[in-house]
């Protein structure tokens, strides 16, 4: 378990993904566990895509949208937040637990915050251990 390197998938809106690029320009160092899939807007994310990530064995999942009130599509990030909340609720209800999933808001010009999120999420997932559906890690144990 000590060597467990979680693989975290991040669904980032176009603008919040920019914060990840900025973190790069700023040469901020953070753990290499996050894989970004870019969405036009965080409001693009469907409940079932998040659930399918859980089914696939994702150790951690997060959705990142613009700051509240700052969505380029007015309220897409509020919708994303509601959807993440709903999926968390489902995961709690079926006993899987919702800690592996999170919603973040980060503005396009805040590379620091992106690095923080990457740190925070990696730490959280490390302490949770691998997803029960993560076969590779499961075999190790």
């Amino acid at each position: 378990m000590d060597n467990f390197e979680p693989k975290i998938v991040a669904f980032c809106c176009h603008y919040s993904a920019y914060s990840a690029d900025l973190a790069g320009s700023m040469r901020l160092q953070y753990p290499p566990n996050v894989r970004i899939i870019e969405l036009p807007c965080s409001g693009t994310i469907d409940h079932k895509v998040l659930l399918s990530a859980v089914e696939d064995g994702a150790d951690g999942i997060f959705v990142a949208g613009c700051m509240e009130g700052d969505c380029h599509f007015t309220r897409g990030n509020y919708r994303a937040k509601k959807r993440v909340e709903k999926v968390k609720e489902i995961l709690d209800e079926i006993g899987f637990g919702s800690d592996r999933l999170e919603m973040y808001n980060v503005s396009a010009d805040n590379g620091t915050r992106f690095a923080e999120i990457a740190n925070e999420m990696t730490e959280r997932i490390r302490s949770l251990g691998p997803s029960p559906f993560n076969k590779k890690e499961g075999d190790k144990n």
Binding site: A23, I36, D70, H72, T74, G111
Partner: protein, 965 residues
């Protein structure tokens, strides 16, 4: 004016105004030379942390604009360049430019975007000609000056302690402190300690009689409030913030609310005062002691951790020199003077000004002026529109539908920026092993010109039909690479870009193996996606080159006339029986210019222009269609087909319930008094005592906004009244005098000439009483604290400007956004996917093709209405000049057979793109901005966002975790 006009424009200054003007011009079919004297584009705005009043991050507004810059090929831009000489005349100027050698680091890589460093000029992408250093000449039809301004040198006022005490900073310096803060605390310069108590000192270098800078800098009140609120929000600990001011000038749209919220919700202290001195305390803490007099004249001392000086704006020395070189007229304060009722025309035909060089102003107004200046240039050069623009030609697009994916993956080393950490050969190897990948190679610099040739060649050689580039941020180079593959005959959308630099090598420098693993994963994800993406078409839509202008006031007429002179049709619909609107009731503007003769001339011009049609006594009853193809039905059943809509339905004056209005015939509103002044009415002429009361119906709980122009107007009328009868006593009862900008000059003059200004508190308003015959006005003198009673012959009420009476009714047709008060809410800071430049749109609505101008958008002066009307025309021209417009490729599409016509999509779309037609939803491609909110929420999954479908995402996630299954 020259007979041989040139279809190019020179834009001087690369700040937000220059960028906006350039983009408008380019989109409307003109060639632009953009000249910037410094080495970077961005101007003052890139120094700000957030923009008020929406608190959006400045960078997120500006960055996409800058990025777009690089992708448009009808611009040439020159940094480190100045104008040395101008010859010729409007329509045909010959401008000599001189460029100093580029001192910037000439990296081969083109894609360095950081919050402070902006893209370097010097690349072949944009057709920049920086190699030219030395003197050269360009030939243009018009010149737009937006050199911006400088802040006042705060150390010139010694008692403020700037440059003497480390913790006295200017507001610009404070912006930098905010921008670089960790958002948990605000740090002061002397000892890097957290601050708990900050003061702002207003009007530093503004409204200063001693210094002959007696204009108001307009924006400092708002930015101080914004900074005070940010300071509180960025601190985990409680921070005490105080703003020391003379008059709180929050006159702009939504500003008053921002002020009230800062005061009431955020707890910012506002102290009406005069500052006597700022000194460091003697205890060595580097804290500061402010000595000030309050509004009763009592002296106080208060200690702060840090003091921010709200410095005003002035034209830069180089701008002044530029103005002088060009021979344009500057005003007493060295700002460029504009000719009456043009708002952007300098004294020299063909040369326009926008932004701070024309006078201090905020960002949205700067952007409006930039568009207005573009509009004015377009009017001048309409005969030669498009003559300097060359349409780029491309080889025919290959049809790859039905083909199995053949993916090419190009991995960038970026000098050593990527390869120094990530094992690029390994990434290439792993890519080769992925399904459908038929070719992969690495480049030292993928973005170099040579690499583009190789990519094209490989596409040919291996029949590649999907291209992936693993390099840096797609923000800037995506379009560049898409251009490359399009030149190779591939559809632009058969492209994916992976950022293995900013997301791998730069951020995992000490973990090369893991960084490599991550890079491999990211490539794998994008290969998986590439297998599922398709060619997308940018659906063409025909554009009807005609505007419908609703409202025949100054704004509507100016807008229509500008468009007409650009060669487009305009149809004005006016509900009353004649053109003119509110301006019919105004004698002179704040600069004492005759409004009526201007108005009559404008009406004549409108009536005689063959491109303009006018329908009076009619209103809009129905609008169908969408941008480019609207069909509007009027109340007289006339049908008009048009491409864009200008809403310029004006506003109207509040009919007061207060101060005996309606009960005593000597109590008049501002407009009514103005009419009597114009008519030279004897009762006004003979009046001994005239009392003007400000803020009647404005800044009240049920109307939480400032009506903006009433202070200026009352001061102007006071001067007029004084001229009519030098013996009259004129009193102005006010809450804050908001004579912003150069209007401060009139305020100063009025005080000097004996107009009596008495401030009142909102909870202790003046009383107007009558015995049935005479009027008595009682107010409390704020200095003496005693009642003053005036036997008034005339009482003038600065009644609020109300939103258009028809606004709500009209909006049932348009379904646009209205503010709480009922003014049309423009669409600033809203953007669309794919970098189209909609980042800052002070005259646009979220609904494409619909624009607003004049009072309908919020209270404003005639000049401001004119600027907005021209800006609107300029924005409209970017649509009307095209025979057809293209939708974005990435749009949502409906599978009709699955649609339940439930209205979910139509309710959620911010752009009104979906409609229910024949029992199923249809999404209008030209309106869709590709956010995918509808697709995600559609209960029957009938909507798919092209190339971003759920299936694509679930496949990518499957792929990412495949090895672990």
């Amino acid at each position: 004016m020259s007979a041989n006009k040139v279809g190019a424009v020179l834009v001087v200054g690369g700040g937000i105004a220059g960028i906006q003007a350039t983009l408008d011009l380019v989109e409307s079919g003109y060639y632009v030379y953009l000249v910037e004297q410094s080495s970077t584009i961005g101007g003052n705005m890139s120094k700000l942390d957030k923009a008020f009043p929406t608190d959006n991050s400045s960078m997120s507004i500006l960055a996409p604009k800058l990025v777009e810059f690089g992708s448009i090929s009808s611009i040439q831009y020159f940094t480190n360049t100045q104008i040395s000489e101008v010859a010729g005349e409007a329509g045909d100027f010959k401008v000599k430019l001189s460029q100093t050698p580029n001192t910037a680091d000439t990296k081969v890589c083109t894609n360095y975007v950081t919050p402070v460093e902006l893209p370097n000029a010097g690349q072949d992408i944009s057709g920049d000609d920086n190699g030219k250093s030395g003197d050269f000449e360009v030939n243009v039809g018009a010149v737009i000056l937006c050199p911006g301004g400088e802040t006042f040198e705060a150390d010139q006022i010694e008692y403020l302690g700037y440059n003497k005490y480390p913790n006295v900073v200017t507001s610009i310096e404070f912006e930098r402190i905010l921008r670089t803060s960790d958002k948990q605390s605000v740090i002061r310069p002397s000892d890097n300690k957290k601050v708990n108590k900050i003061a702002w000192i207003q009007c530093v270098g503004s409204r200063n009689i001693r210094d002959e800078k007696h204009y108001c800098s307009c924006v400092c009140c708002m930015y101080a409030i914004k900074e005070a609120v940010c300071a509180k929000q960025y601190s985990d600990d409680e921070v005490d913030t105080s703003i020391f001011y003379m008059d709180m000038r929050t006159y702009g749209k939504d500003f008053e609310k921002y002020y009230e919220e800062a005061r009431d919700d955020h707890g910012v202290n506002f102290i009406r005062s005069r500052i006597y001195a700022i000194e460091e305390t003697k205890d060595g803490s580097n804290n500061l002691l402010i000595r000030y007099g309050d509004d009763k004249g009592e002296i106080h001392h208060e200690e702060f951790d840090m003091v921010v000086l709200s410095v005003g704006f002035k034209p830069s020395d180089s701008a002044v020199q530029l103005g002088n070189n060009l021979g344009i007229k500057l005003n007493d304060f060295n700002f460029a003077e504009t000719t009456p009722f043009t708002s952007v025309n300098t004294s020299k035909p063909g040369i326009y000004v926008a932004g701070i060089f024309g006078g201090p102003k905020d960002i949205p107004e700067t952007v409006i002026e930039a568009s207005a200046a573009a509009g004015a240039s377009e009017e001048l050069l309409s005969d030669v529109r498009g003559t300097m623009i060359q349409e780029k030609t491309y080889p025919p697009e290959k049809d790859v539908s039905g083909e199995e994916p053949r993916i090419g993956v190009f991995v960038c080393n970026c000098g050593n920026n990527i390869g120094g950490v990530v094992n690029v050969p390994k990434v290439v190897e792993s890519a080769k092993a992925l399904p459908y990948v038929v070719y992969s190679q690495e480049f030292l610099y993928t973005c170099s010109q040579d690499s583009q040739e190789i990519i094209k060649q490989k596409i040919e050689e291996h029949s590649l039909n999907r291209i992936i580039i693993a390099s840096c941020s797609p923000r800037k180079l995506k379009y560049y690479f898409q251009e490359t593959i399009r030149e190779a005959g591939l559809n632009r959308y058969l492209f994916e870009m992976v950022n293995i630099r900013d997301q791998c090598s730069f951020v995992h420098m000490n973990e090369p193996e893991k960084a490599t693993e991550k890079a491999k994963d990211l490539v794998k994800l994008s290969v998986n996606k590439a297998g599922n993406i398709e060619s997308l078409n940018e659906a063409p839509v025909n554009i009807n080159p005609k505007a419908l202008v609703i409202g025949g006031g100054v704004s509507g007429m100016t807008n229509a006339l500008n468009l007409a002179k650009q060669g487009y049709q305009a149809h004005i619909v006016e509900k009353s029986d004649r053109l003119g609107g509110n301006a019919r009731r105004i004698s002179t503007d704040f600069n004492n210019q005759d409004v009526q003769s201007y108005l009559n001339q404008l009406v004549d011009e409108v009536n005689s222009n063959t491109n303009i049609q006018v329908t009076t006594q009619a209103s809009v009853s129905k609008v169908d269609g969408y941008v480019g193809n609207f069909v509007t039905t009027l109340s007289n059943n006339e049908k008009i087909e048009h491409g864009v809509i200008t809403i310029a339905i004006g506003g109207h004056e509040y009919k007061p319930n207060e101060y005996l209005y309606n009960e005593h015939n000597a109590v008049l509103t501002q407009l009514e008094l103005e009419e009597e002044i114009t008519a030279n009415n004897t009762r006004v002429k003979n009046a001994k005592n005239i009392v003007l009361i400000q803020c009647v119906g404005s800044r009240e709980p049920d109307r939480r906004y400032c009506s903006r122009i009433c202070c200026n107007k009352s001061v102007k009328m006071a001067l007029q009244l004084q001229e009519m009868n030098p013996d009259a006593n004129i009193y102005i009862l006010y809450r804050d005098m908001r004579t912003y900008g150069f209007n401060e000059e009139n305020y100063r003059k009025a005080r000097k000439q004996g107009v009596i200004f008495i401030r009142y508190e909102v909870d202790n308003k003046p009383q107007v009483q009558t015995d049935g015959k005479d009027l008595k006005v009682t107010a409390v003198d704020h200095i003496l604290g005693e009642n003053i009673t005036i036997d008034a012959d005339i009482v003038g009420l600065a009644a609020a400007i109300l939103p258009p009476e028809d606004g709500i009714k009209l909006n049932q047709i348009f379904n646009l956004s209205l503010s709480d008060e009922g003014f049309y809410r423009e669409c600033p800071f809203r953007g669309s996917w794919g970098f189209s430049h909609k980042e800052m749109r002070p005259v646009d609505f979220a609904s494409e093709g619909i624009f607003v101008a004049g009072l309908a958008q919020g209270p404003k002066s005639i000049d401001e209405s004119i600027a907005q009307a021209k800006a609107t025309a300029s924005r409209e021209a970017t649509i009307l000049n095209k025979n057809s417009a293209k939708s974005s490729g990435i749009i949502a599409v409906v599978q009709r057979e699955k649609c339940a016509a439930c209205y979910t999509c139509a309710r959620l779309c911010p752009f009104n793109a979906p409609r229910i037609i024949n029992y199923a939803a249809e999404i209008e491609p030209i309106l869709c901005q590709g956010c995918g909110i509808c697709a995600a929420e559609c209960p029957n999954k009938a909507i798919i966002l092209q190339n971003y479908s759920d299936v694509i995402f679930t496949n990518m996630v499957d792929e990412l975790y495949r090895e672990v299954h």
